[in-house]
Symmetry: C2
């Protein structure tokens, strides 16, 4: 049985794991994301200085990035707002140092793949994994394969309606101001209310507004991509009162338009938390590593 | 060589054609959409009272509809705002009367398939066909297949930002008011400015606002679905000054976020008119008919 290496390369921390599968994680380590050189070297060291022979590596990375194997910048983080990381070759140095097959994709596409393989999206054709944390991102399966298209989805940057009378907060996205991420990721909660999300009590008006913005994002997902399920993960979604509010608000926004039984009567099955919990990211990278050993399809 | 029947079932008119392919349309007829009984009977009569033996029928229909062959309501128009047409079995009576294989999908998915087969989307994996006319709808290919997911895309109903100071018009969508369709389909132009789109001169401020709304819709498409191309058809797009304005406005809204060469430097290749022109709809239905003779995959 092959042994896989997985790297969840986040903007805040890198999580490395070695595993045979979701129930057999042999090693796991995490460290902060500093400079590209230092962080990549530390990743190489971790995977080299452990006793298991590795068969393949999967990398789920923050982006935007280049996921097209035929492209000259395949494996690069491209133009990212994260200082120092624009145009960084992430997959190349790891492939070279470890000399094993490498699969490379966005962190959220990797998480989607992990949930498809072992979690809340098994057997589905078309679904979305969306994370709401320090940023907002979404990965997608469409017709049973990860979705890339022109580049890859960048679902945090949907421009959603923003009523500045109800919410004068301008949003924090350096590119768009009040896109979905700018209005609803963790830093927006703190910027708007002066306290972090986990310090805001469930009855605080912050949550109705947060649910409204996230539901606007989901409304765009359902009208454009028509997913069979949306998995909502990330730190902000850890507040257990938030997910039911998002579901209710989505139904209110759709206003009876999409007459789909599961949407109308079983929305708890349609919009769900990740089944793999806090391991979704790194197990997604392990699931990517599996694909590195499969023939292209 | 098989002879195909195609039906473009629109909310205003039905277009029927018999063809061997895009360059050999043998017969074509259109008539207004009245009651379901009358309109379906007229369609049956057309296809029966012509001299060619038909091998398969493709139906591209207005919706929402049920495109899932395994569903008990497959082939139905489901809950539609069009009076009299909710819960109408459209594919069933035609299959029964003509006794040939039938493929059934949305009008815009059919148009997407036609453009993939013979038009502006040949060879692409992931793209969108969007029509801007009396309504707004979008069909999509994702990973080389038509996208259905939970139901099918309903891209006209994305909730986009609406600045009521700039544009007090409330939108005409009976479900959402100011969704994309409510703000930017043909009736919105007439409702807002008191004149039909084709009567508004190119320098009229209507067009900057129209381009703004359509670009907001495209922004959501590119962040969610990451299409390799968007084909913009429909009556409103017949105004030749509009498409360049939409492209420019999309780049302004993205504000440099997606650093993709084709987006930055060749947007004329990325957002295009249909290559099949006014035949996109009915040729899409012919392309659907082809699939009715292919093994499922």
């Amino acid at each position: 049985m092959p042994i896989y290496a997985g790297l969840e390369a986040g903007g805040t921390k890198f999580v490395c794991a070695i595993a045979r599968g979701p129930d057999e994680i042999l090693l796991r380590e995490q460290f902060p994301t500093t400079t590209p050189n230092e962080t990549i070297q530390r990743t190489v060291d971790f995977f080299r200085n452990q006793p298991h022979p590795l068969d393949a590596l999967g990398i789920g990375s923050f982006g935007p990035l280049d996921p097209h194997p035929a492209s000259p910048t395949y494996g690069y983080i491209t133009k990212t707002p994260k200082p120092g990381w624009s145009n960084t070759d992430l997959a190349g140095p790891l492939r070279q140092a470890l000399n094993i097959p490498v699969a490379f994709d966005t962190d959220v596409n990797a998480a989607a793949l992990g949930e498809y393989r072992w979690g809340a999206a098994q057997g589905l054709e078309t679904f979305v994994y969306m994370t709401v944390g320090t940023g907002i991102g979404g990965g997608a399966f469409a017709n049973r394969r990860l979705l890339h298209g022109l580049m890859h989805p960048e679902m945090g940057h949907i421009l959603i309606p923003h009523d500045r009378q109800r919410d004068p907060y301008p949003g924090f996205c350096p590119f768009h101001g009040d896109c979905l991420e700018g209005l609803a990721a963790g830093p927006a909660l703190e910027g708007r209310w002066g306290r972090k999300g986990q310090e805001l009590p469930p009855e605080h008006p912050a949550w109705a507004l947060e649910a409204h913005y996230l539901a606007l994002g989901l409304e765009a997902l359902f009208t454009i991509l028509s997913p069979q399920r949306v998995i909502l993960g990330g730190g902000v979604m850890q507040q257990p009162h938030l997910l039911p509010m998002v579901r209710d608000e989505l139904l209110r926004l759709l206003n009876g338009y999409l007459q789909i039984p599961v949407l109308l009567h079983e929305i708890n099955r349609l919009i769900v938390p990740p089944a793999l919990g806090s391991n979704t990211g790194v197990l997604g990278a392990i699931a990517l590593a599996e694909t590195a050993l499969q023939p292209a399809g």
